[in-house]
Amino acid sequence: MPVKQIGKLGDEFRFADDQRSIAAEYFEYLLNEWDDTALEQALKTVEALGGGEVVVVTVGPPEAEETLRKALAKGAHRGVRVWDASLADADPVAVARLLAGVAAQEQPDLIIAGAQSGDQSNGATGTALARLLGLPCAALVVATDWNGKDAITVTRELEGGLQHKVRIDTPALITMQTGANVPRYATMRMVKLARSKPIAELAADASEGAYRAAATHKMFVPPATRAQMLEGGASEVAAAVIKIIQEKMGVKA
């Protein structure tokens, strides 16, 4: 299962000189919440089946190993980290290509990914990976039911409180929505013990970074919009609203 280390930005930060990134010192790095849910689901599935192996994969710099260790502390069996310096601002498709390579080697029965990440919120890596591998895919899953055989029943969350129950053939890829479970707590002792678990490090080809569909041009803080409080009775407020609409839209209103 793929995981991602995300950066959480504090409320005080400065852009780098090229206005295209923010220096690492302003971030706190932690495990993506959706991936945490996915990991919990994977661990629960393995525990329910009474066997199996959970392999966590990340595409990230050496610092991301901390996140892999955290996942290993929670109970994952092995870790794989793929990296090349050219991937510094890789987009979801580039990441999915690398993950697909790992998946081709591991031949998993089920890939569980987080639906999106807490920093970029592209929500594309999981589905892109499924497309690359040609696997059936279910997104925004909140419950799974799998006996380890050839089909898995998943419940997906739709808009408006609707849920969609679907049965897909395995091997498959599902992306988890948060709230599906309560991620377990890994004590610092477990994190220390997880240091003995294996993490395979794979070097990506430097050309992989080129497979990207998007590039960052500029980062900026949008100008603050103003809110106006309208006071008074209902008719006064209504009059004020009409006045504002007329001002903004001119004669059309």
Binding site: K8, G10, E28, L30, Y185, T187, M188, R189, K192
Partner: protein, 784 residues
């Protein structure tokens, strides 16, 4: 020469039978003890090093002075002393007789139990027997008539109305113990009396009780034959009863006679202040099964006497959390008596025997540990079990989030580390950074003082005070992480250790400093007691200690005495756990405040509720009332005075917990603020400072010593409590809140209050609205 015959009128066969019974009784007694010792040996080794010599010395001092037993319950203490010393003397007396009759005389033909030694011996033993009777009767009356709430085994705090089966058995057991003691001593006295009636020795006055009973029997005209036959029967009754008592001793409440000596001498002087480290060799983290407890823990379970002092002191219990330290220990004991230190049986320790919610209810305030007369360390066992809860992920989502937050950002507020010293930006000067600049004192700020907006203001005030006092101090800035006191008390030992590593590393890398000062009692506790186990550390002081120095040396001058009446709420970690009671009080005195103590102060201070597993102030276990309301509800007068004078000398989670009082309560209670308040609960009945007269109010049940009807809280002379048969005006000073705010505290001209029974208190001052003094309802255990 004066002496008396042993085994009077007993045939040789009878004597042999008695000896056989005696030896088997002693054998059974030692078998019972050996069984317990075998049970303890199944436990783990003690997680902390024990100093047996110092422990034994302290135990003997505790026993001889009865200091742990007299605290907060002098009646029970005195009664216990009478029973204890009486019993010890009787035991010594019996041993002396055995020594002469069975050892010295048969071996060497020497007798010494005669003459004046015999006479003094007889008198002392008679008096000892009387002391036991008096003590046991006091205990019986106390149990039967006064029914102290702490001796009630109903778990009302957990919402139970009836008594559990175990509770019923405990009640029976308590009575068996008392009745057995009384029965043995009384049959002994009767035997003595029968002897006096038959033999009428000339030295009879040396056994006053026996003499009196003998004269009574003779006076009643009992025949010599009848007396002789009763004497023969009663001899056996007394003997068998005494031997049965010895046999049964290791099997019920009487066990505390032995186990308490063990628990008192193995007490850890730093219990809870410094928690035990994890045993790396142990299979389970913390305590998850009964065999994970150490032998010392198991000894503690057996030592519990069910005295209920911890139950009474526990703030969680008072607030309706499902925890009573007494019931926790007793439940563990019941379970361990079944399991005998093994892990067999269907019951799981956590879940079936102890509810996880019970464990999360503990605030680690140490009130139970402080008052336990036999030295049981309840909170340490709770933390040990919590460690297992954390390890097996049985924790509240809020708590999980908080631990994750501390793990990533190093503080419980989830703020980035670079904002840690943001509070200093509003200061007019820059505080040194000890990582680069040399400073004499390192100020370890702590989470609450760094991030909580209200506490930040206090931090700035402290910084200005230190600056004005010429203290050369600096901060670690973003190098500091939370000290981890509460993380460790939650049970996340690994995270605590990583925080210790980080903080110690930062301090080591910083420029050298001579001392550490902190405003946060929790940080102070862990820095002072726990960090030295991980590395060298400069001495740690609370900032009030520094302020006392500055004020007394003249480095800080008080320009205007405040003249306020204030109260002071001892933080558990500063006061009870680290015994720093006086510095804050001295500061208050030096700045011209009149300190009015709350009924629960110093070592009995009532926890605000922000300790233990409640770092973020979030309620993990729902309580039926907030602890905060309990702090004030029980101490309405003093709480009011606290708010009428806005001086709070603490920066800790506690300050956050106090918040602001409800406006209505503030105005009403500050007006009827009694100028009279007792300093100590046991001296409650003193002259009313307002009326200069003995309080006329009717006695209220004391919130603390519910046992002592004569030492109950005498409410001040407010009309609502003046009995109808005392229809007299009460001269009270009635300072209006506005007046008090403008001027320092001085005696106000009295206002005349005329009142009738049940009527409102009326003051003639126009701005004084009628108020009623609310009666404190119920005792501590039924705080509503």
């Amino acid at each position: 020469m004066e002496t008396r015959e042993l085994f009077w009128g007993l045939t040789a066969f009878g004597t042999i039978v008695f000896y056989l019974i005696g030896f088997s009784a002693i054998g059974a007694f030692f078998w019972g003890i050996a069984r317990s010792i075998a049970k303890y040996r199944r436990g783990r080794p003690s997680p902390v090093a024990l100093d047996w010599v110092a422990g034994a010395r302290r135990m003997v001092a505790d026993l001889l002075s009865h200091r742990t037993l007299r605290r907060r319950d002098p009646v029970a203490g005195a009664a216990h002393a009478a029973i204890f010393f009486g019993f010890v003397l009787l035991f010594i007396g019996t041993s002396i007789i055995t020594l002469e009759y069975d050892i010295v005389n048969p071996l060497f033909g020497v007798t010494f139990w005669k003459g004046s030694f015999f006479l003094v011996f007889s008198l002392v033993l008679d008096l000892a027997g009387l002391a036991v009777v008096a003590g046991v009767l006091t205990m019986m009356v106390r149990r039967a008539s006064f029914k102290p709430a702490k001796l009630d085994y109903r778990r009302t705090y957990a919402g139970e109305t009836g008594l559990r089966d175990s509770g019923r058995r405990w009640r029976i057991e308590d009575w068996i113990f008392l009745v057995a003691l009384l029965f043995i001593v009384l049959t002994g006295f009767v035997q003595e009396g029968l002897r006096h009636a038959l033999e009428a020795p000339v030295w009879g006055a040396w056994e006053p009780v026996g003499n009196a009973i003998g004269s009574l029997l003779v006076g009643l005209g009992a025949g010599a034959d009848g007396i002789a036959s009763i004497r023969a029967v009663n001899w056996w009754v007394h003997g068998i009863a005494a031997l049965a008592f010895i046999v049964a001793l290791p099997w019920y409440k009487a066990k505390h006679m032995i186990a308490a000596m063990g628990s008192l001498s193995t007490r850890d002087p730093l219990a809870l202040r410094r928690l035990p480290r994890l045993d790396p060799a142990a299979a389970t983290v913390g305590v998850g099964k009964v065999s994970d407890f150490s032998w010392k823990d198991m000894l503690d379970f057996d030592a519990c006497t069910k005295c209920g002092r911890c139950h009474e002191a526990c703030p969680a219990r008072a607030a309706g959390y499902p925890l009573s330290p007494r019931d926790l220990i007793l439940d563990l004991r019941l379970h361990n008596d079944e399991a005998q230190g093994r892990d067999e049986g269907p019951k799981r320790l956590i879940g079936d025997v102890i509810d996880p919610e019970t464990l999360w209810s503990c605030r680690s305030c140490g009130a139970c540990l402080e008052i336990c007369p036999v030295g049981i360390e309840q909170p340490v066992k709770i933390v040990q079990m919590r460690r297992q809860l954390i390890e097996s992920d049985q924790l509240d989502p809020l708590l999980r989030t908080m631990l994750n937050t501390i793990g990533t950002s190093g503080n419980s507020f989830g703020e980035p580390a670079r904002k840690r010293a943001a509070w200093t930006r509003e200061l007019e000067f820059k505080i040194k950074d000890v990582r680069h600049e040399e400073a004499e004192t390192l100020w370890f700020v702590g989470d609450q003082a760094s991030f909580d907006p209200r506490n930040q203001k206090v931090s700035r005030t402290v910084a200005r005070l230190l600056k004005a006092g010429g203290v050369d101090f600096g901060l670690l800035y973003e190098g500091e992480k939370t000290a981890g006191n509460d993380v460790r008390r939650i049970g996340e030992e690994g995270l605590f250790e990583s925080l210790v590593d980080h903080n110690l590393g930062q301090m080591k890398a910083a420029r050298p400093f001579r001392r550490i000062v902190t405003t946060d009692p929790h940080s102070l506790n862990t820095l002072h007691n726990e960090y030295p186990e991980y590395g060298e550390l400069a001495p740690v002081f609370h900032y009030t200690e520094l302020l006392v120095d500055l004020l007394e040396s003249g480095a800080l001058k008080v320009t205007k005495l405040l003249g306020l009446r204030v109260t002071y709420h001892d933080p558990c970690h500063l006061g009870r756990l680290n015994k720093r009671y006086d510095a804050p009080r001295r500061v208050l005195e030096l700045i011209g405040c009149k300190l009015i103590e709350m009924p629960r102060n110093r070592d009995n201070s009532f926890c605000c509720g922000a300790g233990g597993g409640d770092v973020s102030g979030s309620r993990i276990v729902p309580a039926r009332r907030s602890l905060r309301s309990c702090v004030f509800r029980k101490q309405p007068d003093s709480a009011a005075s606290m708010y009428s004078s806005p001086v709070v000398l603490r920066i800790s989670p506690c300050l956050k917990m106090h918040g602001k009082p409800p406006a209505s309560k503030r105005t009403s209670s500050s007006r009827i603020l009694p100028t009279w308040l007792p300093r100590r609960s046991s001296w409650r009945r003193s002259i009313c400072a307002t009326c200069r007269a003995w309080p006329t109010g009717s006695p209220q049940r004391s919130p603390i010593g519910s046992l002592r009807p004569w030492a109950t809280a005498w409410m001040p002379c407010s009309p609502a409590v003046v009995p109808w048969w005392l229809p007299r005006p009460c001269l009270r000073r009635c300072p209006s809140p506005s007046l008090r705010r403008q001027q320092p505290w001085t005696p106000r001209p009295p206002c005349l209050l005329l009142h009738r029974r049940g009527s409102l208190l009326r003051c003639r001052r126009p701005n004084c609205r009628p108020t009623r003094y609310r009666r404190a309802r119920g005792s501590a255990s039924s705080c509503r």
